[in-house]
């Protein structure tokens, strides 16, 4: 199979994100619309229903380095959220604690990461964790 280079891969992901993904509970886009290297992205996750996260809007930053998609993106929450894979000091996501990042392959995508983090929020162990006040930031 042809190996899609970083920039063309990110253009595809950008176009997919602009059209809107899934049911709208996760979204992402470029932080700066003329960032020709497409390094810095914003993401949002709407907290899953019937959990402590319900109706919360979580903002986060995504960084796609030079080796994306061979290497996973780095992710940092801007909104405070209490889940085991997010550092409570600065909101960075611990790659080792999130399977989609720990077992990253080129077949994964930014959409995939956001959807998986949202699923984690709804897991049996995370759905009832006490949360910081809604809207607070790191």
């Amino acid at each position: 199979m042809a190996k899609v280079p970083r920039n063309f891969r990110l253009l595809e992901e950008l176009e997919k994100g602009e059209k809107g993904i899934g049911d709208g509970s996760c979204s992402y886009g470029l932080e700066d619309s003329d960032d020709i290297m497409m390094t810095n992205w914003n993401g949002t996750i709407i907290g899953p229903g019937h959990t402590v996260h319900e109706n919360r809007i979580y903002s986060l930053k995504i960084t796609c380095g030079d080796n994306y998609p061979d290497a996973p993106p780095t992710i940092q929450f801007i909104s405070r959220v209490n889940v085991p894979f997010v550092s409570q000091t600065d909101g960075t996501v611990d790659r080792a604690k999130l399977p989609v990042l720990a077992q990253w392959t080129r077949a994964s995508s930014l959409e995939h990461v956001l959807v998986e983090m949202r699923k984690e929020m709804a897991s049996a162990t995370n759905r009832k964790l006490p949360q910081p006040p809604e809207g607070s930031m790191f």
Binding site: P5, N7, L11
Partner: protein, 149 residues
């Protein structure tokens, strides 16, 4: 992972007999991915500029068109802020009879003949339609700022 014969042939010819003002060099680790330069055509606001682009031949090539993007910033109504190009042969007018060479010549020709009626960068197109002279002045400025060596 064998490279189709057609791609090998095209690459050989691009290197041995390059089109005037155009270079295309495949990456060592991905022979479907090319670093491209295009010289701004004489008589256009992009004259004397050297523009960097990248080109990728998807798995479906030549049944699907190459993907091409400017890496150098350019003020042109059919090229957007991310360097994406609005050109019919890169979309619905693609034909497998076209080649990397013809695609890059068409991109070079687009620099001589902007088409503000089919814009990708709407603000630039508006500028070109309302005051072509002033828009060309900005295109020249950007060429000097971003596309000179």
């Amino acid at each position: 992972m064998a490279l189709p014969k057609r791609i090998i042939k095209e690459t050989e010819r691009l290197v041995a007999d390059p089109a005037p003002g155009i270079t295309a060099v495949p990456h060592d680790d991905n022979l479907r991915y090319f670093d491209v330069t295009i010289q701004g055509p004489d008589g256009s606001p992009f004259q004397q500029g050297i523009f960097k682009l990248e080109l990728f031949l998807p798995e479906e090539y030549p049944m699907a068109p190459p993907k091409v993007r400017f890496l150098t910033k350019i003020y042109h109504p059919n090229i957007d802020k991310l360097g994406r190009i609005c050109l019919d042969i890169l979309k619905d007018k693609w034909s497998p009879a076209l080649q990397i060479r013809t695609v890059l010549l068409s991109v070079q020709a687009l620099l001589s003949a902007p088409n503000p009626d089919d814009p990708l960068a709407t603000d630039v197109a508006k500028h070109y339609k309302e005051n072509e002279k002033d828009a060309q002045r900005v295109s020249r400025e950007w060429t000097q700022l971003y596309a000179s060596e």
